[in-house]
């Protein structure tokens, strides 16, 4: 149930996408997201879908696994689709009664919006699924290294990110454990109204917060004990571009160009 959240999770496998340099994947994801906002026609979305399908195919991550991640954001998706259907004004009215008015433009807008959101989530989770948190922050740190010149604390930001990402699975596991422990004491998380359900969360949240603070203190202590002081550290495995990385950049450039050309037709 709680393990269904796949955003930020890593799926260990061996594939072209797993081997790519994280900088390529980061920039690639950015390009893909930008392309989704350029797309404004059926053709554009078909192109994006084809590209995404190709990437998923190349990643060796089962589609089932990706779709499971979507379930977690279903509500968000429904809300935004709902807003678009009901609140978009247009000429071609499909249905009208009382204050509700559904227009063809609204439906189209909602469909585009929904697809865009789904692609966006799938695209970005494809990146985290094929990149370990460590690689990801490494990529960010190196890729955005130029910002250091204008005194952006990029190393610290990257470190915070990698710690946060690292803690997601730990917290999930912890939540699972605490939930079971409280269920063993007769706690019930399923029945009851909204208020009762919210109240039932207290026995989970309090221990979870306390253990997070404990973990944070322990980690900070362990880092200090090893003389961590941010700043200039060398890497054991510095990032290095390979031929496949350059090729991928070219592929992304072609994709973006295509999208600009046909995405708005």
């Amino acid at each position: 149930m709680i393990r269904d959240i796949t955003i930020g999770q890593y799926y260990p496998a061996d594939s072209l996408l797993h081997r790519l340099d994280p900088r390529v994947k980061l920039l690639g994801t950015l390009v893909f997201i930008v392309s989704l906002f350029i797309a404004d026609s059926w053709l554009g979305y078909v192109l994006a879908a084809a590209f995404l399908a190709l990437m998923i195919r190349l990643s060796n991550v089962p589609l089932k696994f990706m779709l499971r991640g979507l379930k977690a954001v279903m509500i968000l998706l429904l809300i935004s689709v709902g807003f678009n259907i009901f609140l978009t004004d247009g000429e071609h009215v499909l249905l009208e009664f009382w204050i509700i008015k559904i227009t063809w433009e609204g439906v189209k807008q909602a469909l585009f919006m929904g697809t865009r959101l789904i692609f966006l989530i799938m695209g970005s989770s494809l990146m985290t699924l094929t990149t370990t948190p460590n690689q990801l922050t490494d990529g960010l740190e190196t890729g955005l290294g130029f910002l250091k010149k204008i005194h952006v604390p990029i190393h610290e930001i990257a470190m915070m990110m990698s710690i946060a990402l690292r803690f997601i699975p730990i917290l999930i596991e912890e939540t699972d454990k605490i939930m079971k422990a409280q269920m063993a004491r007769g706690a019930d998380f399923e029945t009851g109204g909204l208020i009762q359900k919210a109240k039932a969360l207290v026995p989970i949240l309090v221990p979870l917060f306390i253990s997070s603070f404990r973990r944070a203190t322990d980690l900070a202590m362990a880092m200090e004990a090893r003389c961590y002081n941010g700043g200039d550290r060398t890497k054991m495995k510095p990032l290095k571009y390979e031929t496949r990385d350059y090729i991928t950049y070219v592929v992304f450039a072609i994709y973006l160009a295509l999208m600009i050309l046909v995405g708005r037709l």
Partner: protein, 283 residues
């Protein structure tokens, strides 16, 4: 009586990292027994005991509680959980209330008892673990590790289970705290006649208290019997990363040297008596 029939359990079904944590486990746990469940790290002990109160559902196999399948339609899991009390590893991490007494009340409150009964049970449970009224209003987060653990154990005892399962209740405690908790559990077993399943790494701890030892290895039951029977396999136990109590080794060494000592000795007291008898006899 709890009966496990050919239980299999796999973690991470549907992903690449599947772990077959339990393999075809069949067991019977009769009422009133004091059982030690032993196994190396990762042998599946915690997974097994979570099946006993239905927190984890077996991938295949069946579990009968007093003859009724707990997986049957309409079986009350909540009822089962009030009868089979499970104290998790590091149970102190589950405390959440503002004071000790209220936290212990959480279990009985979930059973839907009336306020009077809840308070009475909480008080009784705290007494059982040796915490008097002076602790009632203390925040559980201001207690020592050992005291927190007692509060957590009391939280389960307050539900008055017929079966009490403790997952490594002594992990991370000093020898004194360890003995106190185990002695209290043994007392509970004696006086109330409840079934106790004690999960542990340490044969030493367990040998002193239990009637029966179940040894787990790689998700399977390796040995199941009274302590002296199990300890007779001390060489096999070693290959599983376990060890028989130290006295077993002394007794075996003495026997190898030709001293006429019975091989079924499991505690220091028994060994002492036997050795004195042999030595005394020679003089």
């Amino acid at each position: 009586m709890i009966e496990l029939k050919n239980i299999n359990y796999t973690y991470g079904g549907g992903t690449t990292q599947q772990i077959h944590a339990l393999k075809d486990v069949s067991l019977q746990i009769p009422d009133g027994q004091f059982i030690g469940l032993i196994g190396h790290t990762g042998s599946g002990k915690s997974t097994l005991i979570q099946h006993l109160n239905g927190l984890v559902k077996a991938t295949s196999g069946d579990i009968l509680y007093n003859g009724q399948s707990i997986y049957a339609e309409g079986f009350s899991m909540k009822g089962l959980r009030s009868k089979v009390g499970l104290v998790f590893q590091y149970p102190e991490h589950q405390l959440f209330e503002t004071d000790v007494f209220t936290d212990v009340c959480f279990g009985p409150k979930n059973l839907g008892l009336d306020a009077e009964e809840i308070r009475a049970r909480a008080r009784e449970a705290l007494d059982l673990v040796g915490l008097d009224e002076s602790y009632d209003k203390v925040s559980p987060f201001e207690l020592s590790g050992g005291q927190k653990r007692r509060v957590a154990i009391a939280g389960v005892l307050a539900m008055k289970p017929d079966v009490l399962i403790l997952d490594e209740p002594t992990a991370g405690l000093d020898p004194k705290g360890r003995d106190e908790i185990l002695d209290q559990v043994a007392k509970l077993h004696r006086e109330r006649g409840i079934t106790v399943v004690l999960v542990s790494h340490s044969m030493e701890d367990v040998a002193k208290y239990v009637d029966r030892i179940i040894v787990m290895n790689h998700g399977q039951v390796a040995f199941d019997g009274v302590p002296k029977e199990v300890f007779r396999h001390y060489q096999e136990l070693e290959t599983m990363g376990l060890a028989a109590p130290q006295v077993t080794y002394i007794v075996q060494a003495l026997r190898a040297k030709g001293f006429p000592i019975g091989e079924d000795i499991t505690t220091v007291e028994e060994a002492k008596a036997a050795i004195l008898q042999v030595v005394g006899g020679k003089r």
